[in-house]
């Protein structure tokens, strides 16, 4: 793929948001807030950070991406379609019978997916297994393993088992993201089950920790460059994001966690996105 400029990647993020709204409205079910909040990170990953060949999903030298919070998969599908893994029109089959785009991602259904997820807490372990294989068995330092986790998902014990494991083995080719949007289904993360001191927790497990504005493309790219340069520890990027980012009536509202927009709301949301254009990265991320 040709290298895109930062404004071009920002535009991609907006295209991804538009796709997400359309997909969810067509599906009539699914999660809105998380995918919109993650669009900038996914645009950066699929259009700059990861060494991938969309036309050759099983390319042996590729970087791999594991989605742990499977309910956010609409943003991954949209990014993959925009990157050329499959036609953009196919996005409208999301959650429909016979579709390759399952409500939660299934590896065997769609080339380009590395794992199957939905039940929370298992993605970091799978990414750690892959990273272990690269570092210790294949001894191939050229490839990197990216994984996305939600913050509510960090309630799961499986995550911390994996955090201990990756820390013990100093899996330096493992680069994890936490989508720190502060919401989960029953309310805010700090009300449901407090996560802070989140940075301190990861550091205590032996990780290098970077905190960024998850809507700033330059910050996202810089954080991953730093992570690849750290060769004695795994890195976690705590990305502060706004749930529902880009759609005014969805932002910061946990009620949009598990809801799709109806036709009218989708129309309003798409109008919101059109006015934003490529300017969304200049806002604060509510850190």
């Amino acid at each position: 793929m040709a290298t895109l400029t930062i404004p071009q990647i920002e535009q991609k993020a907006n295209d991804i948001r538009r796709d997400v709204i359309k997909m969810l409205a067509a599906a009539g079910s699914g999660h809105s807030a998380g995918p919109l909040g993650l669009s900038d990170i996914f645009a950066a990953l699929y259009f700059n950070v990861m060494n991938i060949r969309p036309e050759e999903p099983e390319w042996v030298d590729r970087d791999v991406f594991f989605l742990s919070n499977g309910h956010c998969v609409p943003v991954q599908y949209a990014s993959m379609a925009e990157a050329g893994y499959f036609p953009v029109e196919e996005l409208l089959t999301l959650r429909k019978l016979g579709s390759r785009l399952q409500g939660h991602p299934e590896r065997e259904k769609l080339p380009g997916l590395e794992n199957t997820s939905g039940p929370l807490g298992s993605g970091l372990s799978q990414a750690s297994g892959y990273a272990y294989s690269l570092q210790y068995i294949d001894e191939n330092p050229q490839r990197f393993v990216y994984v996305m986790m939600g913050d509510g998902e960090l309630n799961e014990g499986n995550i911390w088992e994996a955090a201990m494991f990756a820390g013990k083995y100093k899996l330096s080719q493992l680069i994890a993201f936490v989508d720190r949007n502060n919401i989960q289904i029953d309310g805010t993360t700090e009300d449901v089950m407090p996560l802070e001191d989140l940075k301190g927790k990861w550091e205590a497990f032996g990780w290098h920790v970077v905190e960024i504005d998850g809507h700033n493309i330059t910050s996202i790219i810089d954080a991953t460059s730093q992570a690849r340069a750290i060769t004695n520890r795994p890195t976690v990027i705590i990305a502060h994001t706004i749930p529902g980012k880009g759609v005014d009536f969805m932002e910061y509202n946990y009620k949009w966690h598990g809801m799709p927009p109806n036709a009218e709301q989708a129309k309003e949301a798409l109008e919101d996105l059109r006015t934003l254009g490529g300017q969304i990265t200049h806002e604060g991320a509510g850190v």
């Binding site: 794992n115 039940p119 298992s122 294989s133």
Partner: protein, 330 residues
């Protein structure tokens, strides 16, 4: 060609060895044959006999600590990277504790992760009910894509381990802690998905899996003294079931008894009953644990106490034969 049983089968000095010991040898052999075989353990390396592999292939051995959820999910990632991961723990913990992770990241994800559940059944003995896994066969056989194997002795466990390493599928292998008689020989056949007629008979079909096959051979010997001619079939692969062999034997004898060192509900016997009920409905007696947990005791004592010794089963089988008419087609 008839199955070659150990000639010392009923002698006092029949060779005894834990089934898990065969797994340990098989895993090392599988590692020699294929560089992609890797092994992961949750702080029970010697107990599950993975130390043979660890000592031979340190680079391909991964200690994950007491973390069974991580055990299988890390393995799922290794499989995505082209490896053939064997994960071992006690069956009570894996697949007991981490079943959802197995369901999503191994079975649905269709990765060739091998779940090795050691110390299954009441023959774990003094550790008691918490460690005597009895529900694993039921848990694993209901998962789509999953292969389920319960070897009958240590020689077969070695062969089964090597076969599973190369089958390309999510697989569960069930092992026992205690020394048990070796009834097969190096020359005995083993193939995933195949059942073996160990001894022919006409009055009743006795289907055994895992440690229960040897006990059924003992039961058949006792039944013979009562004039009952039992056919003994060893079924090491619970899924996929060898329907042809089971059906041929059931058709011949018209009565079926199953035996497993596990809950009688939902496991091997249920698989047989499900199959026969839709193919050739006939009386099926399922021997196993009857909706209760085990308890502490000596292994042989517990097997007998819960009605799974050859002697106890002979009595159960002869009562079943008295009560149930022999089924004949038409």
């Amino acid at each position: 060609m008839s199955y070659q049983l150990n000639p010392q089968l009923f002698s006092d000095d029949v060779k005894l060895e834990p089934i898990r010991a065969g797994f340990g040898r098989g895993l090392k052999a599988a590692g020699e044959a294929n560089v992609n075989v890797v092994a992961l353990c949750a702080d029970l390396t010697e107990s599950t006999q993975m130390h043979l592999f660890r000592d031979a292939f340190l680079k391909r051995f991964i200690e994950v600590g007491v973390a069974e959820q991580n055990l299988v999910t890390v393995a799922s990632g290794l499989a995505r990277a082209g490896k053939i991961p064997f994960t071992s723990s006690y069956a009570a913990f894996s697949p007991g504790r981490n079943w959802e992770q197995i369901r999503t990241t191994v079975a649905l994800n269709n990765q060739p992760v091998k779940i090795v559940g050691s110390h299954a059944g009441v023959s774990v003995g003094p550790d008691g009910a918490t460690h005597q896994m009895l529900e694993d066969i039921a848990l694993m056989r209901v998962l789509p894509n999953m292969v389920v194997v319960a070897p009958g002795d240590s020689i077969e466990a070695e062969k089964a381990t090597r076969a599973i390493a190369e089958n390309g599928k999510p697989s569960y292998i069930r092992l026992a802690r205690e020394k048990t008689p070796v009834f097969s020989t190096d020359e005995s056949p083993f193939e995933i998905g195949k059942a073996y007629v160990l001894q022919e008979g006409t009055d009743v079909t006795l289907l055994g899996t895992g440690t229960m096959t040897y006990e059924l051979l003992l039961a058949a010997k006792l039944l013979k003294e009562q004039g009952i001619d039992a056919e003994v079939v060893h079924v090491p692969t619970i899924k996929p079931l060898d329907e042809n062999t089971i059906l041929a034997s059931a058709r011949k004898t018209g009565r079926v008894v199953t035996a497993e060192e596990a809950q009688a509900a939902g496991g091997f016997g249920s698989a047989v009953a499900e199959f026969l009920s839709s193919t050739l409905p006939m009386p099926v007696k399922r021997i196993g644990m009857n909706d209760r947990f085990g308890e502490s005791g000596a292994p042989a004592e517990l097997i007998d106490y819960f009605g799974m010794s050859g002697k106890k089963m002979a009595k159960t089988i002869s009562e079943f034969i008295e009560q149930m008419p022999q089924y004949h087609q038409n």
